[in-house]
């Protein structure tokens, strides 16, 4: 689905990622792991079009998306959540989800101004669809709450719901389990399993919680200082010498 070909990104003199190759296959739950500053979020920002790579190419379903604008890439079917939660603070939970439907709602500007029948039909249909997504994520009771008044864990779920509303094929999750207690992150793992089946998703996620990664991912890629140091299954990862060095230091 998503493929990186020798992607390098420099910020001035700092090399954020160097010659990274990445293959995300249909149906993968792919974990992106590494110490702070390893370049994980940079990879996300390159996929979503927020950054342009210094060199290398990014492909989505064999289409070169390296120079596409962020909104174009979402339209192609890649949605993301943010590391620091970025919900629309003046809106309710369900309005946040409705924003994700923007490009699927068909009525035009003039149909909205004159309140023609299609306006009411579309608004009603997508309102119900937003409710369905919230039900899947277990957020139904909060639908009319202000999004930023929810608990941290639930705000993360709203971000996922909002991303799902854009009907993505690939979902990028930036530290979805951060700040969750073990019970909450177990629940999240189950939800990811569920939405993956329900929406036919391929998931790429950044995570520091190794238990969570072991549980949900079928493939991982470990980065250190922008370089790939391990790629393979999560169970082999913890035995890998380079990974241990990167996380614990190489003084042992």
């Amino acid at each position: 689905m998503v493929q990186f070909q020798n992607v390098t990104k420099k910020f001035g003199g700092v090399i954020a990622i160097k010659d990274v190759n990445l293959h995300l296959n249909l149906g993968d739950t792919f974990g992106l792991i590494g110490p702070n500053g390893a370049g994980k979020t940079t990879i996300f920002n390159i996929i979503t079009g927020n950054y342009k790579p210094t060199s290398g190419k990014v492909y989505f379903k064999h289409e070169d998306i390296t120079d596409y604008k962020p909104n174009k890439i979402v339209e192609l079917g890649i949605a993301r959540t943010f590391q620091n939660i970025r919900l629309f603070s003046s809106m309710s939970v369900i309005e946040n989800v409705m924003i994700g439907f923007h490009n699927h709602i068909n009525y035009s500007f003039f149909e909205a101004i004159f309140r023609l029948p299609r306006f009411f039909r579309d608004e009603r249909n997508f309102f119900n669809e937003a409710r369905e997504i919230l039900a899947i994520l277990g957020l139904s009771e909060f639908e009319s709450y202000k999004a930023t008044s929810l608990s941290y864990g639930n705000q993360r779920k709203v971000e996922i719901a909002r991303a799902l509303a854009t009907s993505p094929e690939v979902l990028l999750l930036d530290e979805p389990a951060a700040g969750m207690n073990p019970a909450e992150s177990d629940e999240l793992a189950n939800i990811l399993e569920k939405i993956k089946k329900e929406f036919d998703l391929t998931i790429l996620l950044i995570e520091h919680d190794m238990k969570f990664v072991q549980k949900v991912c079928n493939k991982v890629l470990v980065l250190d200082y922008g370089k790939t140091i391990f790629e393979g299954s999560p169970s082999n990862m913890l035995k890998d010498e380079n990974v241990i060095k990167a996380y614990l230091g190489d003084f042992i």
Binding site: V74, A79, M91, I94, N103, A112
Partner: protein, 335 residues
């Protein structure tokens, strides 16, 4: 449907009020109400770009000036134009353009929104304070243009004897239309996207929304109604000059929408009544009063400013915040 029932009820109520006010109030009050009507159009449309979309722009005086000049030049007869243009002869374009009242207003709106479209490209390359400076510059450019291009605008002499076709009823109807249109935009996917841009533009982009397009739509709609408001103003006052459209006009609108609450359409309407009505109501302070026998020109502004400061201290986010008068809950999905 509930939406259409509410719509018809409010239209009937507003029209009834307009006719009664026009019939029974004296001409002084009718004039003030007409002025308030124009400012409702301006404030509500300015609020769309500044409050709802959160783009801190300072351009309305430019669009109002464009609307006023276009309407004035469309309404004036050729004889009037040749007589009034003293600094230089009117250009052929000016002599050619002519139309009746309602088309003139619509043309003013369209001209203003087309200029907004071209302006959108440079303006929306920047955000925040920089956007304010770019749009502020636009307002100045329009005014300087009006002063210096004698053959189009008659320079600083301005235009007078503009046919007075605007009255309380027509202004009220236009105000009603602009409020309905703006509310219909706000409560649609476009309005939601505008609010999303105000809250977090990058996240909006990550939802697949073309933020430039949404901002341009807001800007053009805003300019359209500011153009119409300017046209109504020209026709109501029957005389215009470049000095009328200085930054003070923008400033006054800014006071109104901040007082009403940035992002609140009903707040903008109520604040228009408070600000313009309040300025009139405090007029007695300028006159000789009980304590002194001399007049105090400007005293009402002092009192008025103090009142504004007090209101802003107790209502930090304006009277309504970013909510509407009927919003009891955070989200009201009734139509």
């Amino acid at each position: 449907m509930k939406y259409f029932r509410n719509l018809i009820i409010s239209i009937i109520l507003v029209l009834a009020t307009l006719f009664l006010a026009n019939k029974y109030l004296d001409s002084y009050l009718v004039m003030i109400l007409s002025n308030i009507g124009i400012f409702i159009i301006l404030a509500v449309s300015y609020n769309l770009i500044n409050g709802v979309t959160g783009q801190f722009s300072l351009e309305p005086n430019g669009f109002v000036a464009i609307g006023a000049y276009v309407t004035a030049l469309l309404l004036l007869s050729n004889d009037e134009k040749t007589m009034q243009f003293m600094l230089s002869d009117p250009s052929p374009l000016i002599l050619w353009m002519h139309s009746s009242f309602i088309p003139a207003l619509l043309i003013s709106g369209i001209v203003a929104s087309l200029i907004a479209l071209t302006l959108a490209f440079p303006v929306f390359r920047v955000r925040g304070d920089y956007l304010a400076i770019v749009t502020l510059g636009f307002g100045f450019i329009i005014r300087i243009f009006a002063i210096n291009q004698d053959s189009y605008t008659n320079g600083s002499m301005g235009l007078s004897n503009i046919p007075n076709e605007a009255n309380l009823i027509s202004i009220g109807v236009f105000a009603l239309i602009s409020v309905i249109v703006v509310l219909n935009i706000v409560y649609s996917k476009y309005g939601r996207a505008m609010k999303a841009i105000r809250d977090d533009e990058d996240a909006t982009n990550a939802m697949g929304i073309n933020t430039f397009k949404i901002k341009t739509i807001a800007f053009m709609t805003s300019a359209f109604f500011e153009g119409i408001g300017g046209g109504l103003m020209a026709s109501l006052l029957t005389t215009i000059s470049p000095e009328q459209f200085s930054f003070m006009l923008t400033f006054q609108l800014l006071i109104i929408i901040v007082l009403g609450g940035l992002g609140s359409t009903t707040g903008a309407i109520i604040a228009t009544f408070l600000v313009l009505g309040g300025m009139e109501a405090l007029r007695f302070l300028d006159e000789p009063n009980f304590f002194t026998n001399t007049a105090h020109p400007g005293l009402r502004m002092v009192v008025f400013s103090l009142l504004l400061i007090l209101i802003m201290i107790f209502a930090r986010k304006g009277l309504f915040g970013d909510r509407e008068i009927w919003d009891k809950k955070w989200f009201n999905f009734k139509m």
